[in-house]
């Protein structure tokens, strides 16, 4: 039978062979992608040449000529466009890092609160989640900016916060530590405390696994982290002094300034993302089977220990993948800073630098590449963490 049909299908089989057909389709697709890519590039370069618009990164080292209020390293109008790029990028990373930190804490608290047996706590958390998740972030940012600016007093009537900080509608001014000789010892003491705590934690866990004895890791570490630097401070004779902010001229001088734009953006991103993280956490906890709670109960574990040692470690496996995308969203959403004047990458580079240089294609390309890189790096780290947390078959 097969012998007979072979010559018949010989000619047609080439086309009806799924493998060969697959190759043909793929080749066509690649051809189309390459062709479209080529046309785009040649079209752009032709148009640029015809309109005599220069192309390239030669603007990178030119003097920027504009100032930026919040810069994490010394930047002035004399710095280059490249420096302005780094200022913007660091500001984006700064607000993203703080935002992720606080949103995670707030999100976990709200997520757990939604499952609370206390009716008021659970409903309050529900209202929070529903309101926050269902309003556009842009609106919330404008709200926070107004909320930060409007009720705060003018610089002349700054609110004095115990400890030497000042608060007004130009921002929060906190005392700036000034280090003199011997301050390095305090840093060393702090590092010692950090490494000591880690070593103690590992040892205590080992002991617990072996003997079942539980050590107060948290309290001892906290004591070391505060105590050791404090002892070093006293021993070295107090080498840290503070530069306190004070009213001078039109504004407060001295200290470290936390600008209202940063505060508003951080508040907005944190509360917004926390709403989503809360739902992720709730889903994760509900995904842990009820039997685990009951087993922990029957062992007589208190609620907090059940949560932290039994339920959350298992819930994390469900939580981490969607948590990652919330982190990515927060980082990308930080580009909405443009509307409230926070000098992040989008505002400084995509806004001012683009406008002063006119290099739209280069700058938009670089900005996209940067956000993509940040997102991929965050994603890679969270995947690594997820693999570590995943169920290990023994």
């Amino acid at each position: 039978m097969s012998m007979q049909s072979a010559p018949e299908t010989g000619k047609a089989s080439l086309w009806y062979d799924p493998k060969i057909r697959g190759y043909v389709y793929q080749a066509l697709l690649i051809g189309a992608v390459v062709y479209i890519g080529y046309t785009m590039i040649s079209n752009v370069s032709q148009n640029l040449a015809r309109q005599r618009i220069p192309f390239g990164l030669d603007f990178w080292d030119s003097q920027a000529g504009f100032d930026i209020n919040q810069a994490l390293f010394p930047y002035s109008a004399r710095s280059s466009y490249g420096d302005a790029f780094w200022v913007g990028l660091l500001n984006t990373l700064l607000v993203a890092a703080f935002g992720i930190f606080f949103a995670t804490i707030l999100g976990f608290l709200v997520g757990i609160a939604r499952l609370s047996k206390n009716w008021i706590v659970a409903k309050a958390a529900m209202v929070y989640v529903e309101v926050i998740r269902n309003l556009p972030l842009l609106l919330q940012l404008l709200f926070w900016y107004k909320a930060v600016l409007e009720p705060l007093p003018r610089p002349r009537d700054s609110i004095a916060i115990p400890g030497g900080a000042l608060l007004n509608n130009r921002g929060l001014y906190v005392p700036e530590p000034v280090f003199s000789a011997g301050a390095g010892l305090i840093g060393a003491a702090f590092l010692l405390a950090v490494f000591g705590s880690i070593a103690f934690y590992l040892w205590a866990k080992q002991q617990q696994a072996a003997t079942g004895r539980i050590y107060p890791i948290g309290w001892l570490s906290l004591g070391a982290l505060i105590g050791l630097p404090a002892v070093a401070y006293v021993v070295t004779g107090g080498p840290i002094s503070f530069n306190y902010p004070a009213m001078g001229g039109l504004n407060v001088r001295g200290g470290i300034t936390v600008y209202p734009e940063f505060i508003a953006l951080l508040l907005g991103l944190t509360t917004y993302t926390a709403g989503f993280i809360a739902e992720v956490v709730r889903a994760g906890i509900l995904a842990v089977s009820k039997g685990q709670w009951e087993a922990a109960d029957s062992l007589g574990l208190p609620y907090s220990r059940t949560l932290s040692n039994v339920v959350i470690p298992q819930a994390l496996r469900v939580i981490i993948p969607p948590l990652t995308s919330n982190y990515l969203n927060l980082t990308k959403n930080s580009s909405l800073a443009v509307v409230i004047g926070y000098p992040d990458l989008a505002q400084v580079f995509l806004g001012t630098v683009l406008n002063q240089t006119g290099r739209a294609i280069e700058i938009v390309g670089i900005t996209m590449a940067v956000y993509l890189t940040i997102s991929l790096l965050t994603s890679a780290f969270m995947n690594y963490y997820n693999q570590r947390m995943a169920l290990v078959e023994r």
Binding site: N47, R52, G351
Partner: protein, 343 residues
């Protein structure tokens, strides 16, 4: 084989469309505008006196009149303009990419912009300079007393650069607070975010009127920069289009100089003055030389008026801004507005 053929056909079709688009880009701007039947004019998103839409969407302002004058010269109809509101950030990209045919959006003529953006500035329709506005209650009377001030400004403008220069030159400290649009900048200033608000002096007067209590704010006397605000087109070698845009402004200036107004246009057409007769195309064929009709300037005067009429109506005595002609007076009155002769 059939699929490959389809693919090839689709590819060829795509290539044809693209080359068709390229061919269209090669056509002169004037032909494109005529074929479209409307002039695309890059305008401000809303700056009283220069370019602002009212509640019915009717645009008015000095820059708006410039675009209407171009449309009047081409179509004999000043309403054949589509005003495209552009932020400071988007304006040059919009011009480069061909979204607008001409940009008349209180944009400062600088060497960087003129030489590196692929655009060409043509004529200055308003000579401006940058100033500061502060609250009266601040007790500051000079920009030199702004040591340590926080200053609100719009990003991507020459203002932002002059601000840095001014404080650096005078060895004063300051903190810039920048926003993407004029409205965001003003509202932050009004909320007390900054001690001072800076932009072009004309813009300061216009923005001041939008504050809830304009009288609580003063404009400081210092003018810290030169801001020639002008029209710009793409620098693609289309000299005909550049000439139309440039000479539209010059026609309005020459008309003012010769005393030709909307009201007396009919008599002026009968005038014996050879200069007026040349301007209005009674005895010249200059309009045809730039692809228009010979009565191009007469159309501008009929529909828009001369420079003085436009100025007084939008920013001068006949407007809420009440800006005096100052440096924008004709050269013959001691100002800077000077047009080459039409002959």
């Amino acid at each position: 084989m059939k699929t490959i053929m389809t693919g090839l056909l689709a590819g060829a079709a795509l290539a044809l469309t693209i080359s068709a688009a390229a061919a269209q880009a090669q056509r002169s701007t004037l032909d494109q505008v005529k074929a479209r039947g409307v002039l695309n004019c890059g305008s401000n998103t809303g700056l009283a006196g220069f370019g602002v839409p009212d509640a019915q969407g009717n645009w008015s302002g000095l820059d708006v009149d410039y675009c209407r004058a171009i449309a009047a010269a081409i179509f004999d109809d000043p309403s054949k303009v589509k005003f495209i509101p552009l932020t400071a950030q988007a304006r040059f990209t919009a011009l480069q990419s061909g979204e607008v045919d001409v940009l008349v959006r209180n944009s400062t003529w600088t060497m960087t912009r003129d030489t590196t953006l692929g655009i060409a500035f043509l004529a200055t329709n308003y000579y401006d300079g940058q100033g500061f506005m502060v609250r009266k209650s601040l007790g500051v009377t000079s920009a030199l007393k702004l040591e340590g001030a926080q200053v609100c400004t719009q990003q991507g403008t020459t203002t932002e650069l002059n601000l840095a220069d001014f404080f650096r030159k005078n060895n004063l400290k300051y903190t810039p607070v920048t926003f993407a649009t004029a409205d965001e900048t003003r509202s932050a200033y009004e909320a007390g975010r900054c001690d001072a608000f800076t932009t072009d002096a004309s813009g300061l007067y216009s923005e001041r009127l939008k504050l809830s209590r304009p009288d609580d704010h003063i404009v400081l006397p210092e003018v810290i920069s030169k801001e020639p605000l002008g029209s710009a087109v793409r620098a693609n070698g289309d000299s005909q289009w550049a000439n139309i845009v440039k000479w539209t402004h010059y026609a309005m200036l020459n008309a003012e100089e010769l005393g030709v107004t909307r009201a007396n246009l009919a008599q002026s057409l009968q005038s014996n003055n050879p200069e007026i007769r040349r301007l209005l195309g009674v005895e010249s064929k200059l309009g045809e030389g730039i692809g228009l009709t010979n009565d191009w300037a007469a159309r501008i005067i009929r529909h828009v008026g001369n420079y003085s009429e436009s100025f007084e109506r939008n920013v001068g005595a006949g407007s809420p801004l009440k800006i005096s002609r100052g440096v924008n007076a004709l050269w013959s009155n001691g100002g800077l507005q000077y047009a080459p002769p039409i002959r």
